[in-house]
Amino acid sequence: MLLVFVLVPLAVEAFWVFWPALQGFYLALTDWDGVSAPRWVGLGNFAELFGDPIFRTSVLNTAIWLVLFGGVSAAGGLGLALLLLRERRGVGFYRAALFTPVVFSLVATALMWQVIYQPDGLANRLLGALGLTGWQHAWLANSSTALYAVLLPALWRQLGYVMVLYLAGLNGIDPVLYEAATLDGANRVQQFRNVTWPQLRSVNAVVLSVIVIDSLRSFDVVWAMTKGGPYHSSELLSTYMYATAFQSLRLGYASALAVVIFVLAFGVIVTYLVRAFREEAS
């Protein structure tokens, strides 16, 4: 009887998660328009990926995204957490303010930033007021600025999230360690390097996973703001996958893109975790 508590969730999970995932792998090997029966093409979709210039652009953009989005949010989040760690007057307000963007829906965030980026929007007016008219751009319509213009709102949101993760990690460090370090004459930098950073290892693993997963699945903010345009200049793997699936109705090829995204995310995270566990064991 009690077995039900194990088997029912497992069946639900299998039906709603494993099954569609396996279907995705199967579809990646077919040609499917979403209506008629899928046609088996073997590895044809993956072969096509190699010669696809838009795929190359989106891989490059995803790499840029991963580095900037991941790097800035990790470094910035840690910095903010260190800054806001100690209980001071008004610190709660700052923490809450930085965390607020996480609460907003990304589509709402995108709409707000779209207004900021309008040709006569806040960003350009601000530059104009500073006398920097030469720096004014149609931020989202310009192929050289679109990707970075979309990155900013995504970062704006992620920073608060990573900050909270690090705050939790920093609060978990035993103060005795700092006392000992101080007694041994360690300065602030040495304390950070030899106490804080090693103690944050488990949090770092979580942050890395979160960042890699979040940047590979970054979709809503890009789709809502540029749809990967103009002419694919802000295309990420995720937006290209969506466009291929639901605009071009090439669901087989889109599934192949999804498999690539999965392999990338899984690969990065597993490599890190294996290394982390090995270090811990030795």
């Binding site: 009887m1 009690l2 077995l3 194990v6 299998a14 494993f18 099954w19 569609p20 396996l22 279907q23 199967y26 579809l27 040609d31 499917w32 328009d33 979403g34 209506v35 008629s36 029966a37 899928p38 096509e48 210039p53 838009i54 779209q114 309008q118 040709p119 149609a138 989202l140 319509a141 310009n142 192929s143 749809k227 345009g229 103009p230 002419y231 694919h232 466009a243 639901f246 605009q247 071009s248 109705l249 090439r250 090829y253």
Partner: protein, 451 residues
């Protein structure tokens, strides 16, 4: 620890210990290894081919109830019109109709899901073309021949347009509209300019407007409406190479890197300096605002833009025809047609056909026009349009055309549209990269045609 808590702890602890034993008793065959093996079998390719990728078929039980209309008419005035139509239908026919308004982009991407679901919506607003023909081939669309039997007065062209290419009628057209260079009469008067009739006249007008500090040509190919740029491509192509070549090109029978296509862009290039700098940054709705506020002089756009414009500006609107470039090319105009189609899996077949017959009547089309901005033309020849000079001029322009094209995506497919968006927006921003743009467009188009 008090007694209640203690006894609770004991029971849970007991259960925990008893669990593995229970499991063995319930399913003695179920070891971990066997279970995993079972999962593996369930995941085999044969099983995978089923389920999510197949659409159900078979006869549908008919039932009573409201018919549902999936509508992509989200502009305020168009939405009010279709809701008025639903009310009119209920009043006349006695059975209700409910309208679900969905943003156009969502509507388009969800269409396959709607049509293949177990209980699809009954009716859909849409346009004829390759997309529908594809669904018709798969048996997803209702044969609407019965409705057409009440439409004997319709011109043959609409009938041809509503076929699935295999002899079946699947569409009921209810309205059509035209494209042109729209402007505000009061603004042209204020600037002391008049509508041109030739390409050189158009460029002259642009120079005059530019001298007055007005961006001559608004575009609206930014935001979520990059497809608006295709109107320029369509018009230049039907003016330079003719409608027949245009259709062949869009059907994949000619190449986008063909010199004839390059000629289209060479012509376009001469007007590019007069395009609004923000042409690819603003959506057509925002570009409409710019036009109405006199920041841009004119805009090549379809009459649907008026559905989002303040009603008091509509009498001030006028348009001129896209200039003829080569008198030897048969005159063609863009005249996109809109209407309804129905799902073959509808549970309200009789009511659905009653709806289609209703919207094809002259009174229903007049009701629609009265509630909208009044800039569309009725497909029923006996229906009166809004009667404004603007509409009379538009109607006359389409009537004089030897050929009528629908629009880029309607003449080709919604899958080809994004390839045009990428190519055209890039051309507008970087006209010097033309040859690589055309090669890229051809490569992208080939993939669409191949799938």
């Amino acid at each position: 620890m008090d007694n209640a808590v203690l006894s609770h702890w004991v029971t849970t602890e007991e259960t925990r210990r008893a669990l593995p034993d229970l499991a063995r008793r319930a399913a003695p065959w179920l070891t971990r290894r066997r279970f995993l093996a079972g999962m593996g079998v369930a995941g085999s390719a044969a099983a995978l081919a089923g389920c999510a990728t197949s659409a159900s078929s078979g006869p549908v039980t008919q039932s009573a109830g409201a018919i549902s209309i999936q509508s992509n008419l989200s502009a305020p005035q168009a939405k009010a019109s279709i809701e008025a139509l639903a009310k009119g239908f209920s009043a006349q026919h006695g059975s209700p109709a409910t309208v679900n308004t969905i943003a156009s982009e969502t509507f388009r991407t969800q269409l396959p899901s709607y049509l293949t679901s177990n209980q699809p919506p009954d009716l859909y607003t849409w346009y004829p073309g390759s997309l529908l023909n594809g669904y018709a081939k798969k048996g997803l669309l209702l044969d609407v021949d019965e409705a057409w039997q009440t439409m004997a007065n319709y011109p043959a062209a609409f009938r041809t347009l509503s076929g699935d290419g295999a002899g079946k009628l699947i569409f009921v057209p209810t309205s059509y509209y035209w494209w042109g260079f729209f402007y505000r009469k009061s603004n042209f008067a204020k600037w002391g300019v008049t509508a041109p009739t030739s390409w050189s006249g158009l460029l002259e007008l642009c120079r005059a407007l530019q001298a007055k500090g007005v961006a001559p040509i608004g575009l609206g190919a930014g935001g979520n409406t990059p497809w608006v740029a295709s109107s320029w491509f369509d018009y230049l192509n039907i003016r330079i190479n003719g409608a027949q070549y245009h259709r062949q090109l869009l059907a994949g029978q000619s190449r986008f890197d063909d010199p004839r296509v390059a000629k289209v862009f060479e012509q376009w290039r001469t007007a590019l300096p007069y395009f609004d700098q923000q042409g690819t940054a603003l959506s057509f709705q925002e570009a409409t605002t710019s036009l109405l506020q006199g920041r841009t002089g004119m805009m090549l756009i379809g009459t649907f833009f008026a559905d989002a414009a303040p009603k008091d500006t509509i009498p001030d609107l006028d348009f001129f025809q896209f200039p003829v470039l080569d008198a030897s090319v048969p005159l063609a105009e863009e005249g996109p047609t809109d209407g309804f189609f129905a799902s073959s899996r509808t549970a309200h077949r009789a009511d659905v056909l009653a709806w289609l017959k209703y919207v094809a009547t002259a009174p229903a089309q007049e009701l629609y026009i009265q509630n909208s901005s009044g800039t569309v033309l009725p497909t029923n020849p006996d229906a009166r349009d809004s009667g404004t000079p603007l509409v009379a001029k538009g109607r006359a322009m389409l009537a004089a055309a030897k050929e009528v094209t629908q629009f880029f995506n309607r003449d080709s497919s919604d899958a080809l549209q994004p390839t045009a968006d990428a190519a055209l927006v890039r051309f507008i921003q970087k006209p010097t990269e033309l040859s690589s743009i055309l090669t890229g467009w051809q490569a992208a188009a080939e993939k669409v045609f191949a799938s």
